[in-house]
């Protein structure tokens, strides 16, 4: 049902870029509901001739890293999308949109060879760096080589490590070889921002280069200044190769407290509430604000209960299944999360092309849960808590301390599970502790956690679900539930090696069936966030595949 609704949604959503090119549209975007998306109205409003006005993007975290290849957090990527360009960017439907490249390489267009090993990238010829130097294939080569430079503190290296023998054919074309076929690589390249060779090659140490605090990119906006702890200002890049920019300036304003962020949005000091947006309890109030558009936007994160299947109590699948039956998911979503997120059975967001809509639907049935446990031999040990062979059905649940919404959900679950004879104790930890060794090395018992399993828009979840990714067993990955399933391993390996999208979708749909059956994680819901924009800010497009919804600020403008 979810799937059909979102398909209708995409039919109703006009392709604004195309309409604009034909000079037909340009009306104000109006939100039609969570499943229908933003829809243009008939009101005529066209982007200004030359960049005009400014947009203030309020963020509750501070962007601090401006070399896009270095270790950074989500909030930094909002700045990157405006300052730099990747070869292609992820679109709101999960498909890739060419940016610096003229096309997405595939076997069909000859960009990727049949065996998936030889790649050819064709680039635009009209791209200029902010300092006026023409962009070329040399920059792409330099970027990938810098990521693989052992002395450089690159953030993510996955995928890039497989690239060999990069050859620049002409300023607009380059080729490389892959050590092995790796299907998620296009998705990884969609968040790999290209950096200027002519600037960085002169630096002795790229980790401390002046560039890192005065970046030069090919994006729609160029660097003006950063006032630490306060804001970052970017201004329009007139020679931008894509659509826009229509705004003269964009300002990323750091407002650490979310209540204060909302107040500043209310008074008009902030035009868009970025990153964590608006707290769910302000949703109803925000919708009633005059001159503001406040709505939910989908996020790729799945909230779930992660089991440490290395513990005896969770090795029995019956326990995991019974706990799922004993969880009143709908009440958690309605009563604690204000009904904003959508319930899910999968580890993938429903917008993904690999999402499986036909998984068994969850039902809250404590009677069934008790029955499953009885049948599996988990019987009352005398105090109302079940036990089997000396193992009590008692465990701790941990999450980030201070996250009050999650704490409420935990208390609710505690009640839910007590009713079926399972005792859950709450033990929360500060973030730096919770997500350190405690999580990575599987020292927790159960955790309440929101995870984006895929790699951006790509459904590859090897890092979380493959048995070679178990940190506690010496693996390099985040399979912290210690989920070890030969069928899942095989599907993950196939999915990463096959390049055809339809074939891959089938593989990942099967994988979702496996995880729904084996339940290393109990899926609760897919996150939706409340974000607000000032009415009249055109072309705001929520995108589940990016970390921050100002990914297309080059197309933004004010209609009034």
């Amino acid at each position: 049902m979810d799937d059909t609704m979102s398909k209708q949604g995409s039919l109703m959503r006009p392709n604004r870029r195309r309409l604009m090119a034909m000079g037909l549209s340009g009306g104000a975007a109006v939100w039609m509901g969570p499943k229908l998306g933003w829809v243009g109205t008939a009101e005529a409003a066209t982007p200004p001739e030359k960049p005009t006005g400014q947009a203030v993007i309020g963020m509750s975290q501070e962007p601090t890293v401006f070399n896009p290849l270095m270790l950074h957090i989500e909030v930094d990527e909002g700045v990157y999308f405006n300052l730099f360009s990747p070869l292609w960017r992820p679109g709101p439907d999960g498909n890739l949109i060419p940016d610096l490249a003229t096309e997405i390489p595939s076997v069909a267009n000859g960009g990727i060879s049949e065996d998936g090993l030889t790649w050819t990238i064709r680039l635009r010829d009209n791209v200029k760096w902010h300092d006026g130097t023409p962009f070329s294939a040399e920059d792409v080569k330099y970027t990938i080589e810098l990521i693989n430079n052992p002395d450089f503190r690159a953030g993510r290296r996955a995928g890039h490590e497989l690239v060999r023998d990069i050859q620049v054919v002409s300023p607009t074309e380059l080729t490389w070889k892959m050590a092995e076929p790796y299907a998620p690589y296009p998705a990884i390249l969609s968040w790999t921002f290209i950096v200027p060779k002519h600037i960085l090659e002169k630096e002795a140490d790229p980790n401390t280069a002046a560039f890192n605090n005065a970046p030069i990119g090919t994006g729609a906006f160029k660097w003006v200044e950063r006032v630490p702890g306060d804001h970052i200002t970017l201004e329009a890049h007139q020679d931008f190769h894509g659509d826009g920019p229509y705004l003269e300036r964009i300002i990323f304003k750091y407002i650490p407290d979310m209540t204060v962020l909302y107040t500043q949005f209310q008074t008009g000091a902030v035009d868009y509430t970025g990153i964590q947006g608006i707290t769910p309890d302000k949703y109803e109030e925000g919708k009633a604000l005059e001159g503001r558009v406040v709505q939910t936007v989908p996020q790729p994160f799945i909230e779930n209960i992660a089991f440490n299947t290395g513990l005896p109590v969770f090795q029995d699948r019956a326990v995991r299944e019974a706990l799922l039956y004993g969880m009143d998911k709908q009440s958690i979503i309605e009563a604690i999360y204000y009904g904003l997120p959508t319930p899910t059975e999968s580890f993938l967001p429903s917008q993904s092309w690999a999402y499986n809509p036909d998984l068994p639907q969850h039902e809250y049935n404590p009677e069934k849960a008790r029955q499953i446990l009885e049948e599996a031999g988990w019987v009352d040990s005398g105090d109302g808590i079940r036990a089997k062979d000396g193992v009590r059905l008692e465990f701790t649940n941990s999450t980030t301390a201070g996250n009050t919404t999650r704490e409420q959900a935990q208390q609710f679950l505690q009640q839910n599970w007590l009713e079926i004879g399972a005792k859950m104790n709450i033990s929360n930890l500060p973030p730096a502790v919770m997500w350190g060794e405690y999580w990575m090395m599987s020292k927790f018992e159960t955790a309440m956690v929101g995870i984006g399993f895929g790699i951006g828009p790509d459904p590859d979840a090897t890092d979380f679900l493959h048995s070679k990714s178990i940190g506690a067993k010496g693996g390099a990955g985040q399979n912290t539930t210690q989920f070890s399933n030969p069928e899942a391993d095989k599907l993950l390996e196939e999915g990463a090696a096959v390049t055809d999208q339809e074939q891959r979708a089938e593989i990942y749909k099967k994988l979702q069936e496996v995880t729904r059956r084996e339940l290393p994680y109990l899926p609760i819901f897919q996150y939706a966030m409340v974000q607000g924009i000032k009415a009249g800010l055109e072309n705001f497009k929520p995108n589940f595949a990016v970390q921050e919804n100002c990914w297309n600020a080059n197309e933004w403008y004010f209609s009034s």
Binding site: P228, K253, T263, T267
Partner: protein, 316 residues
Amino acid sequence: MGRYLLGRLGQNLVLLWLVSMIGFGVLYLAPGGPLSQFALVPGMSQEDIARIAAQMGLDRPLPVQYWEWFTRLLTGDWGRSYRDSQPVLHVIGSHLWATLELMIAAILIAVLLGGWIGVMGAIRRYSFFDYLATIGAMVALSIPTFWFGLVTIYIFSVKLGWLPPGNRYTVGDGSFWNYLHHLIAPALVLALVEVAIWSRYMRAAMLDVINQDFVRTARAKGLPERQILFRHALRNALIPMITLAGLQMPTLLGGALVTETVFTWPGMGRLFLDSLGYRDYPVVMGILMFTAVMVLLGNLLADLLCAVADPRIRLD
């Protein structure tokens, strides 16, 4: 005097060294680390995190890390921030002015207003004004700053629209009036508590002096009341205030965490909290050392000033 100063300086250096060791130890031994927040960043693998830890030198034994940090500090190199890879002193410097601006405004209000209330309260002890000031001070001290700040924003920014809802200035408008307009609300909110503190101290100090023999003598000489109060009594009552001011100096530069958060003021308090949350060790250690120096300097300065102001105090 010279010997006294030298002794104090030596003492302080030993203290600073101890502070650095304890601070470093506690910070590094606390669970978690600068890289744990990256665990949930999409696409980051455990492999990436281990590689970066090695590149940053975080995998070495603690004493080795301390020794390297400490010897570098002695040569004037405070290290670089993990968050934005800027030199630590630059990071501190870029937040210091915002804090100084806010603090000087607040302290100025506090000293003038608090001092006046305190003196008036002492002179007209148990009068209506004195009771009002006493109750007012109790209320001001009990109101949580966070709540008071939000209420101020709600009334004056959201409802009335007179004052901006925080920030140090409007981006793109760097005029003096713009800065001043933004300064009013946070300075008043911060000053509220300070006024209460200063008025209580001032009242107590003034009362103490008014009842002393030399004031009675001055009265007996037939000096005008004005001259007695402001030339003789107030001057003596100010001596304990110097100590208070010395103790306040580190707060002046350390920043006001809550006020800075409510009014999105990019000062030292928030820098410290952000750095701590991020486990940005070089900056946290930098702020710790900086604050320690300020505390010691503040105390030393207060002692010296007391000696200058009060001839009865001799330092040797």
